[in-house]
């Protein structure tokens, strides 16, 4: 070890990893429907894409990505819900990894919900 910078590089590489293990109420929670319906329509790549992105950008202490059960709208799976503290829940439907990355960039990082993918935008 020659410098603090070198140490910092290792720390940043691992921060995402250990950050996954933090818990607090100010976290934004992202849940991905992973019941049979969700898995069948491709929720797993969505879940891993979101989880990887959060850890890569060392945001794991602020954003938790977890699987959840069926929320009852099976025909709209894969479903991703974003719950920010003090805000209304936003439900995204028919997700795939690319759309999920859009949500990550715009909503999770910049705070702009991606209206076109939400349940509200869909004609029910």
């Amino acid at each position: 070890m020659k410098s603090l910078e070198e140490l910092k590089a290792i720390r940043e590489r691992n921060q995402g990893k250990v950050g996954v293990r933090s818990e607090n109420e100010t976290q934004t929670r992202v849940v991905v429907g992973m019941a049979t319906c969700g898995i069948a329509s491709g929720a797993r790549p969505v879940l891993t894409a979101l989880s990887d992105a959060v850890q890569k950008e060392s945001l794991a202490e602020k954003i938790s990505v977890t699987p959840t059960g069926c929320i009852g709208l099976c025909q709209y799976e894969p479903i991703v819900e974003v719950m920010e503290p003090g805000k209304e829940k936003v439900t995204y439907i028919k997700m795939d990894p690319e759309k999920a990355m859009e949500v990550f960039e715009l909503h999770l990082k910049q705070g702009q919900a991606v209206a076109k993918y939400t349940l509200a935008a869909q004609q029910l």
Binding site: M1, L7, R21, I39, R44, S51, S64, T66
Partner: protein, 596 residues
């Protein structure tokens, strides 16, 4: 990259309740479900709630599974890890609210009042992976100190923080460092005292097992502060997991250049070696510990000269306890004021206690100094099981004393404990209920010190044995009131004449029980009774003729044929033959057998 981390406790408690098997099965099941690239299994150190082991936590949800069995694993993997449905029936019941909501672990009784500084990483990181330690700001304190602080500045920070030695005596750590730094020598040493010997204490063990790098980092900081280039960790050979993880940690630190030559390009060299102790209690005493590291029989020597002047190999040396060291990097990173803001006026920071005995949640707790015994026992510990009453708590192991119920609300710190006749010690805290005989407890601790006395000085070698003999006499019902005076007299001699702290503090359990529970001693001596029903010589088992149905079960159970009687007639115990094992009382379905 894993989306979910499953942390399985690899501390000593959970390992002995089978966490190794759980981990293997978990990895197998994860593979079977094709999740091996999504879910990582991490072996960590102690979570603290040892009573509920084996323990497993799933992140990012933070679901706390307690008393996990191997056959539960397939369900947890397929339901929780694959489908995201937490298996509520297997969770620690305190985390599940009545409306089925799940509480975060930090909100439960056991963790709510705790404040983790020394145990910060225990149960969070993989202790065998240096990168995880670095990921939680590990070695940053060492880097900062080496690149931007002078040794005297480091010592000043530790002085200002008010940190006192966690091994028992509570000597200010910064002062120790200052003395050693002021003495000039061609070589100085930093020693870590990991010879944790108090019966019931396992906090140092848990730090070494859960976060070994913090000890290495702190020793290097200490080395820089006093000008030492060599450190020794004296750890007991009975701690195999701790030894193994320390060895791994030292190898990794050397590999990353965090131990060895020219650390952080600062010109500072520091290396650490392990020394295994054979488990003698006296080797926890600093001079005996150093004598043992030198390769001699572990016996204490008179002080002065103090180790700061002439310690290991006759060179200036500092000795710090594991828990003390575990606080150092945090103090450097967060500042002396941060540390000094916790605790009481003269005892700063937090203290780890190994909570054991008659309490629901046994395990490891870290609380700010000044927390009361009531909070520890009733809130964190979850109270006394089976509706029994609290009688006393024993702190400080064989060097400490008992705290009776009347001092339940005294804030715990170094000075308050001494004032009420006990001491902090390394932090064992044994809770006792009304079924505990205080004379018997005093006898237990004296048996320990008699065994562990090294024999070098007469007061300790002979004195402890004479005291034990008197206690045996009392518990056998042959004591006299003069014996109590003799006990106090002997205790005074031991305190003033013993060479080291082992003998000086050995009478404490006797003195404190005499102070608070003299009536129990008197009951043994005058009434020939043991009020708690523990001392065998003073109690007899009897059968209540009104309640006995004559079922003959007790007579058949008795290993010594001491019970006689015919069918459907009340039975009688022959007191000459009875060995007082209590087997009959356990078996009787009518509650007809009692002891008095």
């Amino acid at each position: 990259m894993y989306r979910s981390h499953v942390l399985v406790c690899g501390g000593t408690g959970c390992t002995s309740s089978g966490s190794q098997k759980i981990r293997e099965r978990l990895e197998e099941e994860i593979k079977r479900n094709g999740l091996e690239n999504e879910v990582g299994v991490v072996k960590t150190g102690c979570f603290g709630l040892c009573a509920l082991g084996p323990i497993m936590i799933v992140y990012p949800e933070g679901s706390f599974y307690a008393m996990v069995k191997e056959e539960d694993i397939p369900e947890i993997v397929s339901e929780h890890l694959l489908k995201g449905r937490v298996v509520k029936r297997l969770l620690y019941d305190e985390t599940v609210k009545s409306n089925d909501e799940i509480l975060p672990l930090q909100e439960t009784q056991f963790y709510k009042k705790q404040h983790r500084v020394a145990l910060r990483n225990c149960g969070v990181i993989n202790p065998e992976d240096i990168e995880e330690y670095i990921g939680t700001r590990g070695y940053e304190a060492l880097g900062t100190v080496l690149t931007s602080k002078k040794p005297e500045e480091v010592i000043q920070i530790i002085l200002d923080s008010g940190l006192r030695g966690r091994g028992g005596a509570g000597f200010p750590t910064g002062l120790k460092w200052k003395f050693a730094a002021a003495n000039q020598a061609d070589q100085k040493y930093v020693c870590c005292n990991a010879d944790e010997g108090d019966p019931g204490a396992f906090m140092d063990r848990s730090v070494l097992e859960g976060d070994p790098h913090v000890v290495l980092e702190a020793m290097a900081i200490a080395g820089y502060a006093i000008g030492a280039s060599q450190g020794y960790i004296y750890v007991r050979a009975e701690y195999p997991i701790a030894v193994e993880r320390l060895n791994i940690a030292i190898d990794q630190a050397r590999e990353y250049g965090l131990l060895g030559k020219n650390i952080f390009d600062s010109g500072f060299d520091f290396d650490i070696e392990l020394r295994l102790g054979a488990g003698a209690f006296v080797c926890g005493e600093e001079t005996a510990l150093m004598t043992s590291i030198e390769g001699n029989r572990g016996e204490p020597r008179p002080r002065p000269p103090f180790p700061a002047l002439k310690g290991l190999f006759q060179k200036p040396t500092i000795l710090n306890n594991v828990e003390t060291l575990a606080n150092i990097p945090q103090i450097i990173l967060n500042g002396a004021d941060w540390f000094a803001s916790m605790g009481t006026e003269k005892s700063k920071g937090t203290k780890v206690f190994a909570l054991g005995g008659k309490v629901k949640n046994t395990g490891l707790v870290e609380i700010p100094m000044g927390t009361t015994l009531r909070e520890i026992v009733e809130e964190i510990g979850g109270g006394i099981p089976n509706g029994k009453k609290f009688k006393a708590a024993q702190t400080g192991g064989p060097s400490g004393g008992c705290i009776p119920a009347e001092h339940f609300d005294v804030p715990i710190d170094y000075d308050n404990l001494i004032a009420i006749g006990s001491m902090m010690g390394s932090g064992g805290l044994i809770v006792m209920d009304e079924d505990t005989c205080m004379v018997d407890i005093a006898k237990f601790f004296l048996e320990f010190t008699v065994d562990e006395s090294c024999g070098k000085c007469t007061p300790c070698r002979i004195g402890t044995r004479r005291m034990l003999e008197i206690l045996e006499k009392i518990t056998n019902g042959q004591g006299t009131m003069e014996d109590l005076d003799k006990l106090e007299d002997l205790a005074a001699h031991l305190k003033s004449n013993s060479l080291c702290a082992l003998g000086q503090t050995a009478p404490n359990p006797v003195l404190s029980t005499l102070r608070y529970f003299k009536d129990e001693y008197i009951a043994h001596i005058v009434d020939k009774k043991c009020p708690a029903g523990v001392c065998k010589a003073l109690l007899s088992y009897k059968i209540d003729a009104d309640k006995c149905k004559g079922c003959t079960l007790c007579a058949r159970t008795c290993p010594n044929d001491a019970i006689s009687g015919s069918v459907r007639e009340p039975h009688v115990i022959n007191q000459d033959k009875c060995v007082k094992c209590g087997a009959c009382m356990e078996k009787c379905r009518f509650g007809a057998i009692y002891k008095e």
